[in-house]
Symmetry: D2
Subunit: 346 residues, 4 copies
Amino acid sequence: MLRFESDYGEGAHPRVLELLAASNLEQTPGYGEDHYCEEARELIRKACSAPDADVHFLVGGTQANFVVIEAALKPWQGALCADNGHINVHETGAVEATGHKVLPLPAHDGKISAEQIREACAEHYADDSHEHMVQPGLVYLSSPTEFGTLYAKEELQAISQACRELGLTLFVDGARMGYGLMSEVNDVTLADFAALCDVFTIGGTKVGALFGEAVVIASPALKKDFRYLMKQRGAMLAKGRLLGLQFLALFQDNLYFRIAKRADELAMRLRQAFTEQGWPLLYDSFTNQQFPIIPDDVLQRLSETYSFSFWQKTDATHSAVRFCASWATTEEAVNQLIADLSNNRA
Amino acid sequence: MLRFESDYGEGAHPRVLELLAASNLEQTPGYGEDHYCEEARELIRKACSAPDADVHFLVGGTQANFVVIEAALKPWQGALCADNGHINVHETGAVEATGHKVLPLPAHDGKISAEQIREACAEHYADDSHEHMVQPGLVYLSSPTEFGTLYAKEELQAISQACRELGLTLFVDGARMGYGLMSEVNDVTLADFAALCDVFTIGGTKVGALFGEAVVIASPALKKDFRYLMKQRGAMLAKGRLLGLQFLALFQDNLYFRIAKRADELAMRLRQAFTEQGWPLLYDSFTNQQFPIIPDDVLQRLSETYSFSFWQKTDATHSAVRFCASWATTEEAVNQLIADLSNNRA
Amino acid sequence: MLRFESDYGEGAHPRVLELLAASNLEQTPGYGEDHYCEEARELIRKACSAPDADVHFLVGGTQANFVVIEAALKPWQGALCADNGHINVHETGAVEATGHKVLPLPAHDGKISAEQIREACAEHYADDSHEHMVQPGLVYLSSPTEFGTLYAKEELQAISQACRELGLTLFVDGARMGYGLMSEVNDVTLADFAALCDVFTIGGTKVGALFGEAVVIASPALKKDFRYLMKQRGAMLAKGRLLGLQFLALFQDNLYFRIAKRADELAMRLRQAFTEQGWPLLYDSFTNQQFPIIPDDVLQRLSETYSFSFWQKTDATHSAVRFCASWATTEEAVNQLIADLSNNRA
Amino acid sequence: MLRFESDYGEGAHPRVLELLAASNLEQTPGYGEDHYCEEARELIRKACSAPDADVHFLVGGTQANFVVIEAALKPWQGALCADNGHINVHETGAVEATGHKVLPLPAHDGKISAEQIREACAEHYADDSHEHMVQPGLVYLSSPTEFGTLYAKEELQAISQACRELGLTLFVDGARMGYGLMSEVNDVTLADFAALCDVFTIGGTKVGALFGEAVVIASPALKKDFRYLMKQRGAMLAKGRLLGLQFLALFQDNLYFRIAKRADELAMRLRQAFTEQGWPLLYDSFTNQQFPIIPDDVLQRLSETYSFSFWQKTDATHSAVRFCASWATTEEAVNQLIADLSNNRA
């Protein structure tokens, strides 16, 4: 079985494991105050051209999302996001569990626009009863989105501008950040994220680490005492260096970017192969996740050799599925799949 | 100015004030443990044909809603409700502030159906990732809805049946309960609510009291220790008898029902008058709130003599507005408005 | 039975009821945006010599306490208070229910000192693991305390100074504010509270109103959007004018101060009578609550004619009890009790 | 520098790393639904003689504590625990952040007794105002405590009996469970914990794992839907197998017990050496943590060669410090320290 169903089904890039093993007997301070964390922070600050940013390492994405959002919001504020955004649909109400309503906006290709954000705020304050409604306090985006799509620099600039005018915190969930940065259509850099957002994450779990999300805080208002909240919410790892050294491994020699680029390239080859079969794509993704709509009988045959994720039925005889590439995907597997497709063997 | 803009703009029915004054110098235990509360509870139990129900008196509707919902839900559960339901749009995220997501369903005339509830649960459990989503735990209805519409007995029975099969708590917000019960199209009694729901409220604030909502708990599972939660959430009035004696005044001699019936009848006269003008109704309400769609120039003239609430623009030259009748609405005011309408003086 | 057991067992001062009745048929905007609330706010600002203060009216004390504390604190902060303070022992964990730990300090006569506050903060920040502990964020005092004792101006100034240096919000719970202000030993004015505190309450429930606490916000940082939180937490009364007009009645012609002064004077007469019997006082209170320690057999006889609250056993044959005076206490009752005591008829 | 300052300063036992490396390229389902987790669960159930227990793997101890406590409590309930218990002093109010008050009882050697628990409940319900106070709902113990002390089987049985009579959930935090089980004075087995507690944890972080706590749920009432809460609180690891395979490594061939036993034995040698110097012990610990009280000048000399944790000043010239042994402590280091002590070279 050749596996394409997920980008976080394996362990970690070998370099990560090597560093874990090499440092194993060293005794260091806990809770992220060790030298590995400090070195990793410094590399990330450099990669973001953000020498003043605070960088924290958290274990998981849901955790990073609700800790950041709770830190940013007043009790009566909520988080604007795409209606199919991860915090709205796939985190078991983690944001609400901190007391804050998620305020969904209709998504297009998994994205929302500056105009939607402006309208939501304008409508809120125009209502005589706005004190009876949750006040927008933060904008949550994911880029890449859960559907592989990306915010263009122009879109992000417009959203950033809107947030600053409206007093909203801008937070980008970068669980698949690497695959976005290295996409052939991407025009946003880490430095852009640091300049345009108040806070964003650089995901490790799906891009070569065993686990771990780096939270990069650019906004001075969010920096103070963030570690208290991490501890309170169970998001401060005792042996914090495990996070630091994973990001150290990933950000040395640009490993993070190289493995993401390779995965994107493999995914682009899959995209082309699907297109050549005449199969439409559910989302127009140029990142590591591809969502072809494939006849169900073909899927049946494919599933004997290849694993992939069922996404949704699109009509009586077709389904959208997800194929992922990651650091663990082999060229051989991709070659074989493409060959099978072009030979109608699938 | 003759006022129709709200059903809670005045104080209380004179009988309520009389009882407040008559009892003023009496010293009683606090926190709802006085004899007035006990008598009022007994009258309400009788009115509901529910001798075993627990009855608690809370000051306001938002308070009653979130205390009941918090009492009923596990931390990972949410409340299904109409997307335009009060808890979803007009309580500043009070339910989310207790940690629970509101799970909105598309409303029709302010209502949701047993089928929608069944589908929502079926979809939830059919999803492989249901543990990553908020689990439906309670159904919140309002009857009358915020738009004056009512659940028919058949609809309520179907919802009750669905909730029992699915393990959901059924909670009906009766902020305007009186106006629903006495509506000419209503076929649901207080005894039906007690039999079909786990918990419901009988609103005082909008039906003759200064303030106060009676929470009627039919479900044994919800009864235990409810008063602890009331105290914790600031919902246990120190001089609790103020609530008890208001409900005592309202439920003696059927005052609650008589004033609601009179208000409904006045509203039906308004409804007929609007209809005779050829003005459509935004919602098909047979209760004390009426939502005619009226030409803007007519509204302009009306507003010189009558107060009403703006609801929404319906097209370039028309708006929906709300006219309310209550215990405080005079027949004279209604007569004059109808006369003005029929004489085209409005 | 002559009643001394509580200062909130009766209804309201007659002037309050009169104003309720006189305004009953008036239709006003809801939620505290009516002219009665505005007039009452203005009177309170004047009484506090605080023209820029924000004044909000909430129904109850527990509610006022947790809403204020939640508004002031970051998620990882807690409230320093006396270990026997109301928020720590008698509000069913209302503060914790908003996510914040109460940080108790050992009380002396119900009070804590500037020095204790400074030490608590010094210890917190001296600990290497302070990020693993709740950060002090606010100081909660009550004055009078639950035991009738008062903070002297000098004590309050020292606490205020400490709070400002340490970045702590200072909040005074004035549920019995009137009885403190008018005490013969008091040297703190409402203007002092407004100058020294960030926020404090002026209690109505125990000083002549049916219910109601005025929250006076002096600190600009706490003012913004406070009403959103009130609504979210069920603390915004629909017919908000009911609160406004009660405080209007109480602050017109200094009624609030006059009824408190009279109650304090009656309590001082009781204090003297208890002392003349040779009975010690559990707390050295110069306000409306008195806590004599009385032989149990005397209490037995007293209880046939007089009601009072049992407080605690002090030894095998004595108990401390509470006698309260309020606006509703009659001179006749006090005279008779004193006469009975001096004639050994009790 | 020979290091004794912590039992979680290094990485993991080599067997853990080996299994991580060996499984690295395998693709498995996420979120704890893989075969490694299942095998580890089965081994733990066997070790606990609890075939029906549910076993979940969480990343950290704070996380495990608040998720378990939140799952067990009603909103108005709190957790009884030792005043120096971890949840009360070193988790930044994590329990309060879920809305629940921690109810501290005075600890003796870090422990509380069945009698204290019974008294706390009796006092609660004896108070007329108990609805105004937080209701005890759960008992939190740690064994070993933070001070290395242990609950004897008789103590635990008495507490379990009390909890069952009083309707309290009994939760034991076993962050250092291994060191307790293998202590020469211990008489409690994992099977005892499973039989006497509703839920307990088996700590990995401090006993050979990189990270990870196994939550063992014996009580049927706590089992249902626990994974929803894990997900909501950020406690469901995406690559859940990382937890499963660590516990698999630790529970194969009794590794967990063997490394804990060895650490306890090294600690006992240290204990004896300290005692032979005439140095008292702050706590009477027979587990891997030792707390000798040592002259400050000796500590100064020791600190040139050995690392340890400062605990507290005990008088002007002495301090209590902590020496820990773990799987990573070498016999050579222990031998050298003992030799230095006996030669007065320290």
